[in-house]
């Protein structure tokens, strides 16, 4: 399977490498960053740096990633003119437009997925870490998988 993935020379190769990391490399441990409810029920994750990552990643880099993630979720849940317009329009059509239109929240979720993928490819995968999109964990936690050291240097 190693030869198969290395033969591909396009961007999909990196995605396959990340998936190979998941399937082949031994998982040393998983760290979970919980939700921060101090501001209410909005989606926000704790930015406190977990101690298990001290040897792997720079604290500031991690906190910057988490802060950007929180900002993106705040953008998705923002109550303002645009969301009111969407809500009123939906109400008038008996909410049937949700069947054919992509909501603002869904658009931002796609943006978040792209952001996490980019962060994984550029920063975390070379350090043997993998961030899981919180939507795959029901927006409860940010799961960070720590892989064993010997699998680093794979394809980079």
């Amino acid at each position: 399977m190693n030869e198969t993935t290395v033969q591909l020379n396009d961007k999909t190769a990196r995605t396959h490498i990340l998936q190979d990391l998941q399937h082949q490399a031994a998982i040393a441990s998983k760290v979970y960053v919980q939700r921060d409810y101090n501001s209410g029920t909005i989606c926000k994750f704790q930015t406190k740096f977990p101690s298990e990552l001290e040897s792997r990643v720079d604290k500031q880099q991690f906190e910057e990633t988490m802060q950007t993630l929180n900002n993106l979720y705040a953008e998705a849940e923002k109550i303002g003119g645009k969301s009111y317009l969407e809500g009123c329009l939906a109400c008038m059509t008996a909410y049937t437009i949700f069947l054919c239109m992509e909501t603002h929240y869904e658009k931002v979720l796609k943006k978040i997925a792209r952001f996490i993928k980019e962060q994984n490819e550029k920063i975390y995968a070379p350090l043997g870490l993998l961030l899981t999109d919180p939507i795959e964990r029901g927006l409860r936690v940010v799961e960070i998988t720590i892989f064993e050291d010997r699998s680093i240097g794979f394809g980079r």
């Binding site: 399977m1 198969t4 993935t5 591909l8 999909t12 995605t15 396959h16 998936q19 998983k30 760290v31 979970y32 939700r35 409810y37 101090n38 501001s39 209410g40 029920t41 998705a76 849940e77 923002k78 109550i79 969301s83 009111y84 969407e86 809500g87 009123c88 939906a90 109400c91 008996a94 909410y95 049937t96 949700f98 909501t103 603002h104 929240y105 869904e106 979720l109 939507i135 795959e136 964990r137 029901g138 927006l139 409860r140 936690v141 799961e143």
Partner: protein, 359 residues
């Protein structure tokens, strides 16, 4: 040696229905299951996971039946009379209201109310590990509550033993559906589903439009009866009392629906849920001065807009997503790796798990 075996399988896989090779040919294209098929809660799914319903549909058929029968009787018996005597707008308005009611009802019943997916084993173990600092060999269940501060107010988060996680604020576990539901309002038997964060606006538009609809029908019926009575008295015409029982049902249901709409309007305006109101979570009777609702925006207009016109949150349970192939039993997984060597140029096998994500 292995390569020879693969070539043998490759040649035989084309046609021979030999039982020893049957599993291999079947396992080459394993049927990926969708997440709704293994959903642990008490829900039913239709249309390949697009529609979700509580296992007990409650009295939803009765609700639909009452609405449809009353409306049909109205259109059949009252509308012809009123169209000739008053205006043609009456059936039009009635029709629009009826459509609104039925669509809102179906949306409330068939939408995911905001179910929280259960914690995965790793996550649950991590939560338990965080609670226990000492290495005790005896298993103790985690403490039931965790206190946090929301807007300078102490809120207790409870641990859900079924879902293996601390419930977010305003989340409650519905025993009928066996799910934790975000911003849990109540489980409505009339609608046959929980009312939570994602379908509260549908529920509210259902009860408000139903109030308007029943009031409208009742008003038209009273008008019809009044005009009829004049005609009976003045022109000595015959009366037809057959449909009166349904009008009596309409009369009694108006007050309950109007009352419910009024109650929920109060809840929306103060950003409360039925669950919180019944339990008196933020009631000032508790004695503490600052035990107000920490979620309110302190403005009726903003509370209403936030609850009803806020952004539509996505479904977190990802019903139509595919399960990762890790769930396939180890024997079959070995065969999968086997067949991936055969299809060297076939990138689909490796890429399949990631392409199944749809919300």
């Amino acid at each position: 040696m292995k390569n020879c075996e693969y070539q043998q399988i490759d040649a035989r896989a084309l046609g021979t229905p030999a039982s020893s090779f049957q599993p291999c040919t079947e396992m080459k294209v394993p049927r990926l299951r969708r997440k709704w098929e293994v959903f642990p809660g008490k829900n039913r799914f239709y249309c390949d996971g697009r529609i979700i319903l509580a296992r007990q549909s409650g009295i939803l058929p009765l609700t639909l039946g009452l609405i449809v029968v009353t409306s049909v009787l109205f259109f059949a018996f009252d509308c012809p009379f009123l169209v000739t005597h008053l205006t043609v707008c009456i059936p039009v308005i009635g029709g629009v209201l009826f459509l609104f009611v039925v669509i809102s009802l179906l949306q409330t019943s068939l939408t995911d109310p905001g179910i929280l997916p259960r914690a995965l084993p790793d996550e649950a173990a991590d939560i338990e590990k965080q609670i226990y600092t000492s290495g005790s060999s005896m298993y103790r269940p985690p403490p039931r509550t965790k206190e946090i501060l929301i807007n300078q107010q102490v809120v207790k988060l409870k641990y859900c033993f079924t879902c293996k996680m601390f419930r977010p604020p305003r989340t409650s576990h519905c025993s009928l559906c066996d799910n934790c539901v975000e911003r849990f309002d109540h489980h409505c038997p009339w609608v046959g589903n929980c009312v939570g964060k994602r379908n509260y606006r549908f529920f509210y538009s259902f009860i408000v439009s139903l109030s308007f609809h029943t009031s409208f029908i009742f008003g038209c019926v009273v008008t019809h009866l009044t005009l009829r009575t004049y005609e009976v008295i003045l022109l000595h015409q015959k009366e037809s009392p057959a449909r009166y029982p349904f009008h009596i049902i309409c009369f009694f249901s108006i007050w309950s629906v109007l009352g419910l709409s009024g109650f929920h309007t109060y809840l929306v305006a103060s950003n409360l849920t039925t669950n919180e109101d019944i339990k008196g979570s933020w009631s000032s009777k508790r004695g503490a001065e600052d035990s107000g609702n920490p979620y309110t925006y302190n403005s009726i207009f903003i509370n209403c807009c936030a609850t009803l016109c806020g952004p539509m949150p996505p479904s977190l349970i990802d019903r139509r997503g595919f399960l990762p192939p890790d769930d396939i039993p180890p024997v079959a997984a070995a065969d999968l790796e086997l067949s991936s060597f055969l299809a060297k140029n076939d990138t689909n096998m490796v890429g399949m798990p990631s392409s199944g994500h749809t919300s």
